[in-house]
Amino acid sequence: MIPIKHILFLVSGVSSFIIFYMGLVNYLTAIEQSTGMTLLIFATAVAMGTLLSTVYISKSITKPIEKLAQNMTEFSKINKITNKKPINTNIKEIHELNENFQSMGQKVEKTIAVQKEYVEKLKEIDRKKVEFSSMVSHELKTPLVPILGYVQMLQKQELMGELNKKQLDAVDEIYSSALKLQRLVGDILTTQKLDLGKLEFNQENIDVGELLNYIIKDFNPIANQKNIHLIKDITGNEVIFSDKDRINQVFSNLIKNAIDFVEPERGQITIGARSDKKFIEFFVKDNGVGISEINQKEIFKKFYQIDTSTSRKRNGSGLGLAICKGITEGLGGKIWVESKENVGTTFHFEIPKQVIKVISKNNQ
């Protein structure tokens, strides 16, 4: 609002003009008796009054508001008050408006500074978390070196002497437990890195057919042991640009699961790939016990383990599928499952053929 005194000033200014000219009009009327002249003078008086009021309003109201608006626009761009000078005005409201704007701006500036500080602190905590889990993983792996080393020596009976059947079984059990522990340590570290977006991804040209051959060759010994049939299903030659080790890791986790879920002797696991213009879809298909619909929704969560009478022994850490999901998403893709109980399960994961941006590497 414009203060009353200004309005009074304005009104009295305009009315004194009118009164003065009315007097003049009366005087002239007496002299000239001309109605036309009277009207002309009256109109001039009104026009002059209006002009003076406009100049006054512009100088004391519009200009300071424009200045204030300009300051606000600048503030909204950089969240910082650049002009801290008071605005030149004698209107109290505009003066107050500017003062309030200045103090609000200062508060916003301060809040932003505090937030920045918090973000830095959180980043620091993240760094410490990675450091800590790396340290723990190192400390856990170190004692595994002699454990696994001696166990492997004991298993090679030509090195340390012959063991009887019971002793050899015991040594084999120690070996597989130690391996499990080793895998678990690795999985925990990978999960931690995925959570914090610190998992490293590489990019290279990958011959998909070759990769699948390599994976099958890697798993053939264990599959043969259980009489499980491993099949490759791929058409054509495909070369993609992505992270070979990570794709291999996803396949390994999925195949390990599949081996746990198929019946030895009649088990069949098919691994393959299909591609369109931009994406390649990999899959691991088994004819195992299948996964119930309820479980299908949960299996990609960390530490989730299927626990029903239909599931056979579980070897995993409960991290395998969460890692698969993290890696696939990190490579810009997605993973999903299709399954029918007692018929089989197919895991699909689809990634871009050319990794444009590796999401998880975004760790400033």
Binding site: H138, K141, V145, P146, G149, L189, D245
Partner: protein, 137 residues
């Protein structure tokens, strides 16, 4: 020995290698020594990076197994010291570590002149094949 065997490798008998093991963890060096001696190789052990470096510089070994994570003078310092004296490529160094290390970092070490690497925990068959491969490379 066949006529085709190269002069370079003629001195190296891959059935009886001299292996220097540098690792601060005594249980690990003991296990590795046990294994390699059972395989008829000769082991020299150092549980300290500085001492290990001195041994590398003093005597010729067929292969050096070098732990990367050691207190004070670590494997990286040993590599750096050898590099500074242009001695890195004259030695067959296999680095091993239980630390988290990226493939890029491992490749970088190989580029600098390290012969090979192996990650802990160790598959002893793989270790042995890497030792023989490196010694005769």
């Amino acid at each position: 020995m066949s006529k085709n065997s190269t002069i370079k490798n003629s001195k190296i008998n891959s059935n009886h290698l001299n292996v220097l093991i540098i690792d601060d963890n005594e249980q690990i060096t003991k296990m590795l020594t046990t294994f390699l001696e059972l395989k008829n190789h000769n082991c020299i052990v150092s549980n300290d990076g500085k001492q290990g470096l001195a041994l590398i510089q003093k005597n010729k070994h067929d292969v050096v197994l070098l732990d990367l994570a050691m207190p004070e003078f670590d494997g990286y310092s040993v590599i750096q010291a050898l590099e500074n004296k242009d001695q890195l490529k004259n030695n067959k160094i296999i680095v091993f570590t239980a630390s988290t290390i990226t493939q890029d970092e491992l490749d970088e070490l190989v580029n600098r002149g390290v012969t090979s690497y192996i990650l802990k925990p160790i598959d002893i068959d793989l270790l042995l094949s890497k030792i023989i491969e490196s010694a005769t490379s």
